[in-house]
Structures are given as structure tokens and as C-alpha cells.
């Protein structure tokens, strides 16, 4: 199972943190700091796998990908295929790219609740829910449509009220 998904920028600021296995809030933030201290000193051209037992307990490994100013990190146990985890990060990034059109860090900062919704369509309970970015996009678009429709309904009474006052 996947234990956690982290998105950190190159200054160590968390942009997304999702833990699928219970950890106290203090431990979560210790883990984030530890992960960053490992990644920021890691040179280019080395493997993308790191032993994560020291901060996530036994049977923990992490895989990461570095895109522009962000690290995408998955922490998982031995029931997952390391190479597949690497490619699942790719699926996540591709989906973000489609949602935000050439995604950058600012998109994630200002839309982190949407980020969580996207992640929830790919991973549920630490298990892989969907691996097709197109399928994920369909779900996200439908959720966005529902969101907009609800807000539109809420707007009508206020508009009528404004008109009446004139």
C-alpha cells in the first residue's frame, strides 16, 4: 500500500501532504522535514529510490520525481512495485498538467483543494484507484460542473433581490 503522498518545493515547503496510514501531526511534519533533507542533498543521476524506514517505520521505501521546482514523493511498502510507483507519479503529473494547462507551483498553491480532489481520484485508502489520466479528467470535470451548478443556483435569489431593489 501507499503510505503517503507528498509534494514539496525545492525550499522544503509542503504543497500537498496526504497520509494514508495513521501518523500523529507531529510525526507527519517530522517526516516531511526528513524527506526533504534527504532529497535536497541527493545528486542528479542517482536512482529515485530511497530507504524510508528511519522516518516511516519498518518496510517503508520512497520514490520521487523532480519536476521544475517540485518534488513528487510516494512512500510505500513492499506490496507495491517500485517501478510502477515511479510511473504512477507520472500519471499524477500528467493529470495535473491537463487540469491546469502547463501546471506550475503557483497553480498547486492556489488550488490545493482541487489537488486533493485529483489525488483522491487516483489513490484511495493507499491503493491505486485509477491509472488513466483521461478517466480522472472526466471525473474532475464532472465534479467541477457540479460545483459550478450549485453556486449558480445560490446566485439567483441574490440577483432577483438586487433587481427588485432597483
Amino acid at each position: 500500500m501507499i503510505k503517503a503522498v507528498l509534494v514539496l518545493n525545492t525550499q522544503g515547503k509542503p504543497r500537498l501532504a496526504k497520509f494514508y496510514e495513521f501518523q500523529s501531526v507531529e510525526k507527519q511534519h517530522d517526516a516531511i522535514r526528513n524527506v526533504f533533507s534527504v532529497l535536497c542533498s541527493r545528486p542528479e543521476h542517482v536512482s529515485n529510490f530511497v530507504d524510508a524506514e528511519s522516518f516511516f517505520g519498518p518496510d517503508s521505501r520512497l520514490v520521487y520525481k523532480h519536476f521544475a521546482t517540485l518534488y513528487f514523493v510516494f512512500i510505500f511498502d513492499s506490496s507495491e512495485n517500485e517501478l510502477a510507483m515511479l510511473d504512477l507519479i507520472q500519471v499524477l503529473v500528467e493529470t495535473l498538467d491537463k487540469c491546469f494547462r502547463n501546471v506550475c507551483e503557483l497553480d498547486i498553491v492556489f488550488n490545493y483543494s482541487k489537488m486533493h480532489t485529483i489525488l483522491d481520484e487516483i489513490i484511495l485508502g493507499g491503493q491505486v484507484l485509477e491509472t488513466s489520466s483521461n478517466e480522472v479528467m472526466k471525473a474532475i470535470e464532472e465534479i467541477s460542473r457540479l460545483e459550478s451548478a450549485s453556486k449558480a443556483i445560490n446566485l439567483v435569489p441574490k440577483s432577483v433581490s438586487g433587481w427588485r431593489s432597483q
Binding site: 529515485n48 512495485n81 483543494s113
Partner: protein, 881 residues
Amino acid sequence: MNPFSSPARLRDMIRAIRACKTAAEERAVVRKECAAIRASIDENDPDYRHRNLAKLMFIHMLGYPTHFGQMECLKLIASPGFPEKRMGYLGLMLLLDERQEVLMLVTNSLKQDLNHTNQYIVGLALCALGNISSAEMARDLAPEVERLLHFRDPNIRKKAALCSARIIKKVPDLAENFVNPATALLREKHHGVLITGVQLCTELCKISSEALEHVRKKCTEGLVRTLKDLANSPYSPEYDTAGFTDPFLHIRLLRLLRVLGEDHADASDSMNDILAQVATKIESNKIIGNAILYECVQTIMSVEDNGGLRVLAINILGRFLSHKDNNIRYVGLNMLMKAVTVDAQAVQRHRATILECLKDSDASIRKRALELVCILVNETNVKALTKELVEYLEVSDPDFRADLTAKICSIVSKFSPEKIWYIDQMLKVLSEAGNFVKDEVWHALIVVISNASELHGYTVRALYKAFKMSAEQETLVRVAVWCIGEYGDILINNAGMLDVEDPVTVSESDVVDVVEIALKCHASDLTTKAMALVALLKLSSRFPSCSERIREIIVQCKGNLVLELQQRSIEFNLIIAKHQNIRPTLVERMPVLDEVTFIARRAGSFPGAGLTSTGSSVGLSNGVAKPVAPIVDLLDMNSDDAPAPSSSGGDFLQDLLGVDLSLASQQSDASQPSRNGTDVLLDLLSIGSASAPIESPAQSNSSTIDILSPKQSKKAPISPLDDLSSLSLSSRATSNAGAAPMMDLLDGFAPGPPTEENNELVYPSITAFESSSLRLVFNFSKQPGNLQTTNIQASFTNLTSNVYTEFTFQAAVPKFLQLNLDPASGNTLPASGKGSVTQNMKVTNSQHGKKSLVMRIKIAYKINGKETQEEGQINNFPRDL
């Protein structure tokens, strides 16, 4: 109220936080924002709930406490609108976890939403439940989730599947309810439902053996067919990844097949064909293709044996090692480490490729490769592999050297086919990476060298040459100095030359030069310098013509700030300057240390066992040699008194030097007439008189006890020269006894041992020592011609129902007594008094008629492998002994 205020205000907060230059500024902004949120919550305005929670989620991510917003999550979840529900569920998953009691309050809302007409709201509820469900929630909501496994929309079915996986993990008892719906999912066409169904079935099989049996029987064929269809399927753009049709589904199917096939020959047999097909068909030039191959290899290695498939799998891993992508090489090495236990022969075929990985630029790959090489080593290939590793040691970067050095030393000591090869490899390692070698490694090397007498010449010459080239390697210097001290005479005369060697021309002066370098080099540490001083003392005997020069070098350390070096310098100078006649015996070649004893001690046996063995050995070999009895007894006493040194280095050196002194005594016995024995004794007195305080010849019993106590309280390890000091003190005490003891000593040198006569004196036996677990009985006897000496037979009885193993007995006596302890009759004491251990000893009382015997004892043994000790003092000896 402006209806667009909520998103704008959230953005404003984020901008404000991002604008902060310092952590303190950020804390101030967050604190102010939290205050505003609290105030808004207090007003209980539903219009602001959504916005407040959005802010709290961001604040939570930054690491600030947000517990006060938990109830807002519940209120939003209970709201009718979709945006409110979505935000509420997001907050629920982030701000709460399964332990919170608040979570119980949300169960009813979840139940309602799981039955909602809007499938996206159902999806929100399933997502939340799947991420944070507690056992109680799982039990309450399992029926809803089970029903949703049959829902019309595949997006709901797939979420229900993963939600079910969490439920059965939380409450394994519910697994049986999900078996049939889960296996139905395996017949789906939708890839999302398939992949989640496979994951649910995998969890079921892990949790429930009944489920495993059911899935294996009903589904294995179907899974094989699904995998076959997938592997052969035409292009499918929806799930295409780099040209592969849904590699993630490939991987999950292979994983489930692995679970089904483990320890089950029939199931394994049914999947062999598809495994072979996947293994041979997949191209390995893409990461995701390799992910499938990697999973396929793991499945092949886990299911029941098929030799051909196994070799195919291992060859795939071999290709992984040659891949240019670091990640592929990394997982290949990981898997080979597991594969080696299954088929070591097939893995051996890739040894060259594995060795190549040692030179990888990636540290984690090098580390894995090194571990794998260590697993592959055996008697057949140890020489070739060690050669490769040692060659690589020369070019490896500093970070890797410590690991590589430790592994090479471990391999060499474990698989060494012959001593000369072992010595050669260790010298190479010491020359290249001596500073990374641990103490036990070079200690073990010295033990091996001392045991290989035919290689002393070869070794000391090799070390001499290595020292010339690698003087900066600390442990190399130590081993070289030790060997040069011991075998310096062999070094200069080329004794024991082997065919492979070239002659070397080394003078006595050259030899002294290298030891002097070791002593004076500022980089040498205390241990190295101390060993250099000892080596110089030895060389002063082996090279008489250099004696004066050596003395000058040693004297230069008299003013050393380190007390250890200063003391050695002063003592060694005295030996060279004033006691040339005993120096050869003092620095006689070290006797061969028993390798078995050394290995056993290193394995953690009781340190005292060595001391007892030494004492027994001395007693056994000199039991009837009265002319040297005083010296032997003194040595025996020291052996009994010495505490076990705490440091491993000190322990090792102490053992070697301690044995040396014993041998010196034996040499004296063998080669010198009785007059020379007297000279030795008088010379020791001469040394002692310079430093020992004068003691009153008349001593009370309380004084006797005082003498015993300080000895027992010694903490620091005794240096080798302290033994000489103790000898002196003991000898002086003897002379202070007055004329009578001296007459006895002279009488001891009379020709002819006394003949044995019938024992006419009888003394009552005593229970010398008794505890709840052990009884010690002493029986006494004397011979008429020697009233000072008492023969004691000690008899040990076990009072418990546990067997005592590795039983040892040690004793200490005050200076007016001399103790000679024979070996015990055995070292196992049977339980409940069935059988006993006996041990004979001889005590000579120089104060016979004035003082009674007194003895302090220590007994050590093991019960069920656990070490135990008992100590005591025996004061109830019969009078007139």
C-alpha cells in the same frame, strides 16, 4: 454581502502568507487569520463555513494546529449542497484521523450519503470512508459498501472495492461477506474496476485462508485468461502507457497470481505459460515495460518451482543490471538478492555484471551490489571475488571505502582457504584502507600470523615493505610494528624465504629506523606509540649491537606528557640499563596464542576462563619443581588477581604478554641452574626496593583482610609491567619474613625432592563456602616433612535442579601465602548433587604457626546459557595449617 468574497478571501490569505519573509512573520499572519476564523465559527454563520475550512486546510498543511475546526467539517458534511459536502469530506480526511472521537459523529452522515441519489456524493463518502475508516465505522457501514459493489456505475464500483479493502483490514471477520462480490469484479471489463477488484481480492487472500482457497479454485483460470487477453490486446488509447496496454493492471494481476501460486503446485502449473509469455514478450527499453517484467520475475520466483522459468527470470534480472537507467539496476540488484536463496547457481552466472555495479556512480547501487557479492561468495570463488574487491578498493571513493573494507575483511576471514592467502589479502587491505579497519580485524590477523610459524619470515618482510610505502595507515603500522618486534631477527637474515619472494637486504639499523618512525610520527596514536615502545624493547634483545641506540630512543619518551608512554619509557630503560641478564627471558618470542581460545573469547565467552586456564597450565607443568616454586606461585597469584580488562585491544595485548611471562618462567626453569634462580629473585628485589613501601613484618588478621581488599578493588587494566611490580612486592614481602623463610627457600634448593611418606596428620574437613545454590567442601592433608605446605582437595556440589556448565573456580590469597591450583576434574556440575567437581590445590604458609590460612574465592558457571557468579571469603580454616 458580495457572493464572490469567499474565494477572494482565501486567495488573499494565501498571498499574505506567501509574502512573509520570515517564519515569525508567517506565524503572525497565521495567528491573526486563525483568530478571525475562530470568531467566524463562533458566529455560526453557514455562509462562511466553506471558506473557513478551506483556509484551515491550508493552515493545517503548513503545520499549525487546526483542531478547533473539526466540528465545522461535520457541519459541512451535513449540509445539502455539493460544494459544502466536498469541502467537508476533504477537511475530514485531513484534519481528523481514525482515532478521533469526533469521527463517530460522522457515521450517520456517511450512511446517508452512501445512499444518496447523486453518485458523486456517494463517491465522496466512499473516498472518506476508504481513507479514514475506524473499526467501528467499518462494522457499521460494511453493508452499504457491499451493496455499492454492485452499483450500476463503474466509478462507484471501483471506489467501493478499495473501500472494502480497508474495511476487511480493519475488521477481518467481515472478509467472508465480501468474497463473492469481490470475485465478481474479476469478470469486469472496465479496467478501473478490474484493477481495484484485483487489489481487493489480493487483500482478501492475505487476510483469510478460506478466501484464498476460494479465489484460487474459482478464479485462477479466469485471471490467467484476463492477463493473456491483456498481453495480446490491440492498441487501446484509454489505458496506453508508452505503448503498453494498462501496465498497472498487468502488475496487479501478476501480484495476485503470485499470492495464489505460492506453495501450490497446481495453481502454479496453470499460470506457467502466461508467465513465460509475459517474460519473453515484453520489451525492456521502457521503464514501464520493465515494471511489468520486474513484477513477472517476482511472481516466477515466488510460485512453485519451474527450473526453466527460474533461469529465464534470473536472466531478465541480469539484463536489468546492464540497463542504463539507475532505477532498473537498483531493483534488479534487490531482486537478485532474493533470488540467490532460490537458485544461487543461476545468479552466479551474472557475477561479472554484478561486480561491474560496484563501480556505479550511484551510492545506493554500489551498496546493494556489495551486499549481493558477499552473499555470492563461496569456497570456490572467494579468491577471484576478493581479488576484484581489493582492486576496486584502490580506486573507490572515501564514502564507500568503509563499507567495502568491512566486507572484504569479513569475506577473507570467513572463507580463507590458506593462511598465506589470508595474510596477503589482509596486508593489501591494510595498505589501501588501514584506517577503516576495525580493531578486532587486526587483532585476529596477529593471532593468525603468530600461529603460522612457517610464514613469520615472509610476513615480517612483507609488512616491512608495506610499511615503507603506506606509513599513513594506522592499523598497518601497528601490525608491522608488532611483527617487527617479534620477528625482527628473521627480517634481517631472510630465514624461511619462500619461492615467490625476492630477497631483501635489511640491516639492524634499518629495522630500528622504521620502529622509530612509528614512535615519532605525529600521526601515530597512543596505541601505536605504546606498541612501538614494546617492539623497541624486544629489538634491544634481538639486536644487541643496537641496544644503546634503542635505549636513547626510549629515554626520549621519559618526559612524554602521556603517562602511559612515560611509564613504559622509564620501566623499559631500567630493564635495558640494569637488568641485561633477565632481558632475553622477558622478551622471548611470544608463544603461539591458541586460535580456538581466541575465537571462543571473541564469541563472548567468560573472560575469566582464560585466566584460570593460564593458572592451571602453569601449575600443571611446574607442580613438583620446587626450586622455581616461588616464581611460579607469584605468577599464578598475578593471574588470579588480574581483573578482566574492559577494552578489546587491551584484552588482546594483555593475554599475549601474560602468556609470555609464564613462558619466561618455564624457560628459566629449563635452562638455568638453581644459583641463577636465586639471582633472578634477588634482581627482582632490587627493582622492587626502589618503589615498594616497607611493610611491618607483624600483621594481624585485620591487616590480612585489608591486603586482600585493595587488590579486589582494582579497576584499571594492569599493564604488562605491573606484573613485574607485583612480583617485586611479593618477593619483598617474603624477605621481610626474616631468617626462617630464607632458610626455607634455601632448603627448597637442596638436591633431591623429598620422598613421599605416609600421611600421619589428619585435619577435619570444612564446608568452606555454602550458598543457596552451591556447596564447597575442603579436605586437608599434609606431609610430615613439610609442615608449611597444605594439600587441599576442593569438592563442589550443586544444590539446585539446574545443571551448571562452564564451571570455573578462582582463588586469591594474601602475600604470606602461596597458592598452586591444579586443573579441575570437570567443568559441568550435575544438578541436585548428583556427582561433583573436585579440584586440588597446594597452599604454602610462610607464617606457619603465626597466621591461619585465608582465601578469597570466585566461582563462575552458566545456567541455561546465562552466566552466573558467586564470590566469598573463607576464614574458617583449621588452625595450625
